[in-house]
């Protein structure tokens, strides 16, 4: 189980860099917003897996909930900016 989770964490970390390419070079703002929110979702899963390793999942779920909320609010704020400036 531990090895399985370590492999998943490493794969997710690599995928974050793949998505980061879209954030930096992605054509247009829509791609960037979608990519940033995808990075947020991956970070959330990585956080919870870390919580499993430290044997304190409930603590890390608190943190990841806040992360998800702020990710959502940031996404809405970016969309709002696009609405007024586009």
């Amino acid at each position: 189980m531990n090895n399985f989770l370590i492999v998943i964490t490493l794969a997710l970390c690599l995928l974050v860099f793949v998505v980061l390419y879209r954030v930096v070079f992605g054509p247009g703002v829509f791609n960037r917003i979608a990519a940033i929110s995808a990075i947020g979702t991956k970070t959330l899963v990585i956080l919870i897996i870390f919580g499993y390793f430290y044997n304190r999942v409930e603590m890390f779920i608190d943190i990841s909930l806040v992360y998800a909320l702020l990710n959502f609010i940031g996404c809405v704020a970016a969309a709002k900016y696009l609405e007024t400036e586009g």
């Binding site: 806040v66 609010i73 809405v76 709002k80």
Partner: protein, 154 residues
């Protein structure tokens, strides 16, 4: 290119989500001494819920519910709670913010008084942080001049 309209999906989702965010913020404040979080973090989440309301529903709606004057009042109340508990400890012959002296008026043993005192201080910090965060966002998004003032000037 992008037409401005009635963004009904965003408005509905944020209206459903804001109470849950605020409930979660209260949980973070209340469980500050058992789990990560505390007054500052809970206050930031409370402020974020107000910011979400501001982004989705606009200035007029939020100003009706939670205006900038009320935000300033709340930040002062938060600091008052914090420093009030501190000075109460001074009056009870302890150091500043020495919560264990509060057992004389709370009628519990000193350990419990310490826990309750920290909770009270965290509530004060949460109030202040929420109001100040919202006030900063208010000032940035309106350019420091509220639309009502502009109308009066014209």
């Amino acid at each position: 290119m992008i037409i401005r309209g009635e963004d009904i999906i965003i408005k509905t989702i944020s209206r459903v989500l804001v109470p849950f965010i605020q409930l979660y913020a209260l949980y973070v404040i209340m469980h500050g001494h058992y789990s990560p979080g505390g007054g500052f973090q809970g206050g930031v989440i409370l402020g974020a819920s107000m910011v979400l309301l501001f982004i989705t529903h606009g200035y007029a709606e939020v100003n009706r519910k939670f205006s900038e004057n009320i935000a300033v009042l709340f930040s002062s109340i938060g600091v008052l709670i914090y420093s009030g508990i501190g000075f109460l400890c001074l009056l009870l012959l302890g150091n500043y913010l020495d919560y264990s002296k509060l057992y004389k008026i709370l009628s519990v043993d000193p350990a419990h008084a310490r826990s309750l005192g920290i909770l009270g201080v965290e509530i004060g910090v949460g109030f202040a942080v929420m109001a100040v965060m919202f006030s900063i966002f208010f000032d940035i998004s309106t350019g420091g001049v509220s639309p009502d003032d502009e109308e009066e000037a014209e």
